[in-house]
Amino acid sequence: MELVAVAVFVVALALIALEWVHRTKVALVGAALMVIVGVLDEDGAIAAVDWSTLGLLAGMMIIVGLTEPTGVFTYLALRVAQLSDGRPVRLVFLLAGMTGLLSAFLDNLTAILLIVPITLLLADLLRVSAIPLVLVEVLASNIGGTATLIGDPPNIMIGTAVEELSFLDFIVNLAPVSIVTLLTVTAGLAFVFRKQLRVPPDRAAEIARLDPASDMREARYVKRSVAVLLGTILAFFLHTLLHLEPAVVALTGATVMLLVAADDVERALERVEWSTLFFFIGLFVMVGGLEERGVIDRIAEALADLTGGSRTAEGLVILWGAAGGSALVDNIPFTAAMIPVVETLNAPGEEFHDGLWWALALGACFGGNATLIAAAANVAAAGVLERAHQPISFVRFLAVGFPVTLVSLLIATAYLLVFQL
């Protein structure tokens, strides 16, 4: 049965990586197989699902989904672009900074879906290629999303699975290294792309004349939805003091948003990406099958043997292994499988070491930049570019994403060695 569990999970990972079938279908079929063949029973399957992760994701989807139609994000993006005065380096830093910030507090996939269409518009107006700008944004979104508990799915999964880690812990331990990495990577990309992003002076003036405030629709909802969004983020910071789980904060925010900023609840709930939630459900059940059959324990033991029980070596193996696994497959299933491994390494009864969790978060999130398929935000950006007749190939993404990932991991390694391990 152990072999069956491993076979189902490995085949599912391969299919997710190859994208022959929608990842949600793969995850659900894998989960169904785990139960049908008896790897784990029905109660075990339900218990394996981390409902807090689903609640947090659904809550944030509703909050962001109801804020987006007000036009506030378009306003923000255009204002930031106007600050660049058409200077390429400044434009790259401003777009990277804004995308990183949005990714940290919304989630990187949402940030990319909001920002990339506006970037295509800006690139057309500025008469520059959109691809360098979109590449910068995708890479910035994965790095920015690393900074908080809600910024990237791997962090959401870790944050909801490990009750010792608060929203503030993520900020304190991950935001500084994320900011340093973002600045370093952005500086490098601005240098690399500087010639492709030269803006004719008349075009910069054209951008400066635009007034994004003229399309802030549903004015009565702008203040309400922005207030709820900011209030929810504030509540995340205070969730330990409030004795509320992050999922409760997100769902409470979503409920308030539905009360004050949604005329039609049915339409508002259409903002929930059900395929993503079911993808997570399938993954949790598959990983539950691996746990049930002792596969996770064996991986943890093998990892402990490989590293000789050294916390430093364990952390570095998790960091680089998570990055490699995320690059090849997708950082969400990889993190789902690694969480119980790290839990096993942080054995109950022993002193809690958060360093391994930060290693996993940094590896999974930074690894998401290595290839086009490594993170949902990358795939989404490629889809928008494809529709705009400016496709980006796997190799072109790799040529930029891989070196960026190496630099990011080197910074993360130094950070972990000095401050965490």
Binding site: P69, P117, L120, L121, L125, S214, D215, R387
Partner: protein, 148 residues
Amino acid sequence: MSLRDITLVPGSVAEAATFREAATALRESGLPAIAVVDAGRRVVGLFTDVDLLRGLFPAYLGDLRHTAFLPDDPDTLTRRAHEAAAEPVMQHSRRPLELELETSATHAAERFLHCEEGAIPVVEDGRFVGMLPRAEFALAMLRRRTET
């Protein structure tokens, strides 16, 4: 009553046609949508006025929802129109919904209520016979009711 009792409107373009040729055929038909047909007159796609708009304007407009601050950018629009003109119509057409000539008017009404297209291709033995425009269909139903 079946669709055989309703006057259908000619409106099709060959699958090998370009976007420009399809746009011309759409305009000349006066319909909101025309069928894209293969050499055997089988319907392989549907080209609508929305597809025409999508082709003429930058694709990211479909992803944006706030553009009131945007002035027209003639250079971008001209460039996009030039690019689109030579593209194959199949690149811009959508999966076709079709109705059999013997379909009842009630079923046709149900189909129209559940699709956004303003005209549906009608086929007989799998071959295209004409377009059924939504407005024409509704008016034909109204006329019939008035007469009875």
